[in-house]
Every structure is written in structure tokens, then in C-alpha cells.
Subunit: 307 residues, 2 copies
Amino acid sequence: MELLRDKNGLTEQEFLQSYDLAKYEKPSVTVDMLLLTVGDKENTDIRKLPEKELRVLLVKRGEHPFLGNWALPGGFVGMKEGLREAAYRKIKDETNVTDIYLEQLYTLGEDQEEVERDPRTRVISTSYMALVDESKLKPSAHRTTDEVSWFSVKKKPTFSGKQGYAFVETYELTLESDDGAIKIGYQIKEVYESKTPYPVKTTRYEKLDGYEDGLAFDHYKLIDKGLERLKNKIEYTPLAFTLLPEYFTLSELQKVYEVILDKKLLKANFRRKIAPMVKKTEIIQKRGHRPANYYQFNEEWQHDFMG
Amino acid sequence: MELLRDKNGLTEQEFLQSYDLAKYEKPSVTVDMLLLTVGDKENTDIRKLPEKELRVLLVKRGEHPFLGNWALPGGFVGMKEGLREAAYRKIKDETNVTDIYLEQLYTLGEDQEEVERDPRTRVISTSYMALVDESKLKPSAHRTTDEVSWFSVKKKPTFSGKQGYAFVETYELTLESDDGAIKIGYQIKEVYESKTPYPVKTTRYEKLDGYEDGLAFDHYKLIDKGLERLKNKIEYTPLAFTLLPEYFTLSELQKVYEVILDKKLLKANFRRKIAPMVKKTEIIQKRGHRPANYYQFNEEWQHDFMG
DNA sequence: ATAATAGTGTCTATAAGACAGTATAAC
DNA sequence: GTTATACTGTCTTATAGACACTATTAT
């Protein structure tokens, strides 16, 4: 095979030997983990089945910057470590869970505002969304000395309509810690402008009045994006099953959909729709009043559907 | 306001002053642009309207590594430059277009294989998908001395079925330059494994037999991902309109959908479905046989639909 | 018995798909 | 006239939503 030479007459090998790594100043690269689960709410009436809620794992920062604020778990990426591998490592550090669904979410550092998102230096952060079944978490001990807590998450629409020429939607994103002691809240404002011939959407985040605590960096963006992604994908992918144990009842599955879509579903219709995705098992659950059948994910489904 | 101090007793200001940037070795950060457009195919029969095809902009590399191969336009990100800003800059360099639809696509550098995607050093690359109306491109002169060309892109399914326990789908991704001189082809193999309780998808890329030319780096992944993204989003977003001039006929719009979804649509049904997205104008096109009405994007639409 | 959950049947409204038809231009 | 494109009406089928009903348990 003949050797290609560049403008300077160098072969690839020669070029690589002369390549000066230190010539350019480089940004730092980190990963941030949006670790989500769906868990049972505390139950007041023992006769009723527990409601479910979405939860996100946050870590209290023990260092500058944003010392004392709550942040998504994350950290710098090693030189020989893939972004996804770094994400796995972080999850293992925080939760001891290794078998977990993971997908790339978004990379922060897009515009001037985000260029200054970290006061130390320019930091580009790739985020991953991870979904875990709550039952895998129970026995885990956190290995770090950091304070770590699950926060319930809720995003609810507060306004939708025209403001002048633009169309505006606002939401409230609220987080509350395990014990209810810490409350974090942001207002999200989405503006749709008709920049003919196509529309442009811009999103603004602001701390909500009356919420003292805040998130570190621009991590609210990732929580918001993750919730949206989940809402979209749960309709046409098997993502919901990553949030449940292998065996589940259809009522449990329905509650997962309800908490993610943030609306009540009619039982009969829900069952008809998800029927091809699940397989009935012989196992029976005794928990509510009438016993329920346990179901499993039906691996044949994606073939018929996605294929 | 009281000053928080960390474990070492430092305030944030003191911490930042003592923060040593050079302590850690850092990966390099680049952006890659997937610039797509839909254009008229060369016409044989003058009486017929031209067919449309999807096109992607590629640059012939004049430097190591991958010297002589075709690549997506891209390059290193400046320290004070946002990723999106860098993407804009690249597009302006290559096409002189400034007003363009842009969305973040994917960040490469996930796993061990991708850690070694660039022989110079560890490179993390965030990619953007840009969609342009062909008519905006015509008068542009490329400012770089590099060879630049639009390639037609086609992804067609070649197999779908079970292979042992797993479900497999294969595709052929083929690119062909403007003048038909350069042909690039990859086989894509998607394997769905039923890693209970949820399925895992893995994708493999291989050069197609009989295709001599190749893409630089792992850029085939970005083209593949971009086409998928476009196919998904065109159904529920106004993305199609970014690929057309402000005024267009419904037949033109339909052809854009057809080339992206890679299937023929029935006229009557298509028109019924997109009716709320468009606005009829008074302008008439004389091009085919019976003159056609020009339409515009209807900015009211997203409100009713997305809101 | 009553409350709570599990599970099914069916009517209706809406959307998607198929296809036949009419209309208006170039040649 | 023929051919190619533009545009509409309507029947059929599939899907989504609403709601009423039965079934089985704990208390």
C-alpha cells in the first residue's frame, strides 16, 4: 500500500509524530448523570395501593463551585475513558447498580451563556439519562461520603397562550427531597417565535419565588430535557419496562405511564394499547384486593413494531 | 452575604484563584456538521417534474488523518466559543449561509472504540444537524480551498428478521457525489437483543463491498443518526419547512416528505394530514401542467398542536 | 355488606388508508 | 385529442376515547 503524503510531504505516521498536542488550549470535558426512577409515594391509607412518583438522584456539592448546592452526579472524563463508561462509573459510585439503561441526553456548552457555565474553566458536559427499577436500589449503600438523596420531580404547566406575536408556554419544575426538607423550584418559559418560514423555540429558566435552594450549574436544563425525552419515548419504545422489575402487574405499569405522561389513563384503553408489549405469566400478586396477574415484557413486540 | 468555605477553608474566590487548570490532561473537543438539503434530481423527461433527493455536504480532507477521504465539515472548538457557535461558523465557512436551522445531534466518544476514533489524540465531537433550503445555496461560493461537494444520500433496508435469539435489521447507506464520480457505501446492522427485562440495540457499520471510497473518522454514524432523527421528527414537527423556500406547492412539500420517509404517499391523504400546518397564498406556480397554488407555513399550527 | 382493586365488552368519535373522480394546463 | 399535474369526495378500516359492566379479594 502506497503512503499518502500531505501538503508538507509527511506520511500519516510522520504527521502524528510531529503533532503537537499542547499547541491548543482545551476545554474540560465532564459527564452528568440524570438518574431517574419511579417509586411508591408514602402511603397514608393502608387500604389503598401507593401512588407513584418520578425521582431523580442529586448529590450535595462538597466543593466549589456551587458549594452546598444540589447537583446531578457527574465529574471529569478520563483521557482513556469513553463518555458512557464514565457515566457508568459515576452510577456505580453513587448507587452500586451496574445493570442499567443508559442513553445520551444532551451536551451542554452550546452558546455564550453556557461557555461560562463553570467558573473554573470552559467545561463541556455530556449528559446521560439513566433509568432504574426502584427495587434494584433498596439494598445499596452509597460509597461516597457526599450527601446523596432522591428528589421527587414534578413538571406542571402553568400557562399557555399568546404574548404579542409569540406563543408562550410556562411550567413549574419542582423537586423535593426524600424527607421533604429541601425544596427546589424553577420556572420554565418556552417561547415559540414564527421566524418565517420555520418556527424557533427558546427556553428560559428562572428560580421560582419562595424556593430557597437551587441546583448547581445549569443542571435544571438536563432535568427538563430528560423529562421531555422520557415523555416522548415512552409512547413508542419499551422504556417503561426499565423502570419496573421483571415481573409487574398491569396496574403498576399503568401508574408508570401515568406519572411520566402526567395524566390519568383509562384502564380498559391502556390495557388494549399495551397488550402486544406484554406477556402474561402464571404468577399472581396479592397486594390490593382482588389478586392481580404478573406480566413480563414481551420481547417479540419490538420486532413487530419496530421492524 | 456570608462566604461559604470548603473543606480547605477556602472561599469560592480563593478556590478559583488556586485552581490549577493544567493539572489534568484534557481531551480535544470538535464539532461536526451534518448539513442536509433536499434538491431536484437531474431531469431526463422535460415534461415531468423533477424527483427530489436528500443531500449531504462533504469535504475532502486535505490533511492527516484520513487524508483524501471525505468528511463532514467540522473542526476544533475555540475556548470561548459555544459548540453551536462553532457549528454556525463552519457552515458559514463552507456555504456562506447564515440563517439556518440547527439542532444538536449526538456526541461521539462514548466507548473504547470511539476513544480511539482520532489517531492524534482523544477527541470528543459534538455534532449538529443543519437543514437548508436548496435555493439559499445556489449563489454561494465556497470560501475554503478544500474540495467540497454535495452527495446524494440513500438508506435502504436490505434485511429484517430473526438470527438465532436476536432480531436483526440491515440497511445499506450509500452516498454519491454531484457528478457521480465518487460512491461511498456502508452496511448498517442493527441487532436487538432481549436482555430481559428490556431490550438492547447495538449498531455495527461496515464498508460495503465494491465501494472503494470511504468516510473519514466515524462520520457514517452521524449521517445514519441524522437520517433517523429527521424521519422521526418530520412527522410531528415543522422540520420539513426548513427544507423549502417560504412559498411552495403542496406537491413539493409532499416530495420532501416522501424522500425523507422513503415511501410514496397518497396525495389526498397527505393533503388532509398537513392541511392545518399550511396556509394557502394567492400566488400561483406555472411549472407542471395544471398550475399549482403556492402555500406558506402556518405559524398558528404549532400552537394548536404543540400546545 | 362495602370498599378497593382487577379485568372485560362495547359503543362512539376520530384518524388513516385506499381509491375514484374532476379540473386545468402543455403539447 | 393525450399526458401530466392539481385537487376533491367518499368509502372503508384501524385506532383512540368514554363508560358501563363483571370478578375477586380484604375488612
